[in-house]
């Protein structure tokens, strides 16, 4: 008999998105532009992270009408964001039929202690992580896909690079450990022991790992891919730039051909101005979205 909502179909959809670009969109028109440019999925939002950052206040799940209109506009998968710990927003998104939920630090957290128990849902979840322990805690709670947190809405790749290097470096260190060192490693990174053992054995995360939070150029996307990302989320980077269509296409091309400098040089030409960037040091620590969640 057919069984829905299994771990294999949840992680499997993320496998199908690999090597692709997932773009933040706020209108059906933007969703169509993204699909036309070659996005493998879109993230339906009311505001992109740069605008959320500028507006301040409490950022919540998008209005269901916005999400449904975007779902009607495209045939590629549609993702949407719920606040960290806000399992009722997640229930609503599942009811709407979105294809993936991002339990996201871009929105204002609803719970400072507990993330959503994601095993309770048939819809799969993606969560942000700054290091391997955080990634494995989220996977332990049921996340079927991981992404770096980076620092959303800044157009500054430095934090995403830090988080991807941290995760990949920690995986390499685990791989070289003897079995008796693994329980201490699990304790030190506050991660589920069984997942630590699995990562040590396979040398990779048990789910797909994308880059997010600061991608603004084709070179940024290819950098993250060369550092080991399975694919790319672009938030504000496309629709906050001067020429979204050209930039979206170029970032898609750079993600497929991330190891080919000739292609990268070609697609980086004549894109117009990128989104305005933010120096991380100018953002007060309590304003940094990556500090949300644990």
């Amino acid at each position: 008999m057919a069984e829905t909502g299994t771990w294999k179909v949840k992680t499997g959809l993320a496998e199908m998105l690999k090597g692709g670009v997932i773009m933040d969109v706020t209108t059906p028109e933007q969703a169509k532009i993204a699909e036309e440019a070659g996005a493998c999925a879109v993230m339906a939002l009311e505001r992109v992270p740069a605008d959320i950052r500028a507006a301040g206040g409490v950022a919540r799940m998008a209005d269901p009408t916005v999400i449904l209109r975007i779902m009607d506009a495209v045939t590629i998968p549609v993702m949407a964001k719920a606040r960290i710990g806000h399992f009722v927003e997640a229930q609503i998104l599942e009811e709407l039929g979105v294809d993936y939920i991002d339990e996201s630090e871009v929105l204002t957290p609803a719970d400072e202690d507990y993330h959503i128990d994601k095993h309770q849902f048939k819809v799969p979840f993606v969560c942000g992580a700054r290091n391997l322990g955080e990634a494995l805690r989220r996977i332990g709670e049921g996340a079927a896909m991981i992404r770096t947190k980076g620092e959303p809405g800044t157009g500054n790749i430095v934090e995403a690079v830090r988080h991807m290097r941290m995760v990949m470096g920690e995986i390499r260190r685990l791989s070289s450990m003897s079995k008796d060192e693994l329980m201490t490693a699990a304790k030190n990174m506050a991660a589920p022991y069984e997942l630590v053992v699995e990562v040590a054995r396979t040398g990779r995360l048990p789910v797909v790992n994308f880059a997010a939070g600061g991608v603004a150029t084709p070179a940024d996307a290819a950098l993250m891919m060369q550092l080991g990302s399975d694919g790319i989320f672009v938030g504000s980077g496309i629709f906050k730039s001067r020429d979204p269509v050209a930039r979206a296409k170029a970032i898609v091309a750079a993600t497929t051909h991330y190891n080919d400098p000739k292609v990268l040089a070609e697609v980086s030409k004549d894109l117009g101005e990128a989104m305005p960037g933010l120096e991380i040091a100018t953002i007060a620590p309590e304003q940094r979205m990556q500090e949300r969640g644990w």
């Binding site: 069984e3 179909v9 998105l17 692709g20 048939k122 296409k249 080919d260």
Partner: protein, 192 residues
């Protein structure tokens, strides 16, 4: 035997691992030059609209279509099945159109309806095959030259037309290599 795995986007890594476990040598295909000397080609799951556009952008579309017409063995899973179909219901998206079938995209529903189910596939032997269906299509019409290999809930989910093999499900995610072996040895006729 050298098998190309189209690496625009999607589960190309899993196909490579499954094919290598069957003894094949694999090459990821991103440019026309990569197509030289192939004994077969796999078009993986992913998003068919994305893969179709990228095939055009990177000038792979025409060469792959011509190689398929000339008899190159091609195996398409999920989005790869959609790419090979002649007709796609309600869509004018780019497709290779090599196989005499009509498909419906996301035919079983959105992701919350994605499912696993055991399939009876007589061509692979008696043991059921673990079917993983992710926003999967199915074939709702197949021409006379098409051999139906598996049916689920009255819908065609695996079929062959001479050098072309398609599945609506994802054998590359299961660790069961029977479909890959069937492609290499029965469809492509490569020695074991």
């Amino acid at each position: 035997m050298l098998i190309g795995v189209l690496a625009m986007q999607g589960a190309f890594r899993e196909h490579r691992l499954a094919l290598e476990a069957c003894g094949a040598t694999c090459r990821e295909i991103r440019k026309p030059a990569h197509l030289e000397g192939l004994d077969g080609l796999v078009i993986p799951g992913g998003e068919s609209t994305t893969i179709g556009k990228l095939l055009h952008d990177y000038e792979l579309f025409v060469p792959i279509r011509e190689m398929g017409k000339d008899g190159l063995p091609i195996f398409g899973t999920c989005a790869g099945l959609v790419m090979l179909a002649r007709d796609i219901e309600g869509s004018n998206q780019p497709r290779l159109g090599l196989m005499d079938i009509c498909v419906i995209r996301n035919a079983f529903g959105r992701q919350v309806h994605s499912f696993e189910a055991d399939l009876s596939i007589p061509a692979l032997g008696e043991a059921p095959f673990p079917g993983v269906f992710i926003r999967a299509p199915y074939i709702n019409k197949a021409g006379e030259g098409v051999e139906v290999l598996a049916v689920f809930q009255d819908h065609i989910v695996m079929a062959r037309q001479q050098n072309l093999l398609v599945t609506a499900f994802h054998p590359e995610l299961t660790g069961d290599q029977r479909v890959h072996r069937y492609f290499l040895h029965t469809v492509a006729g490569l020695p074991a």
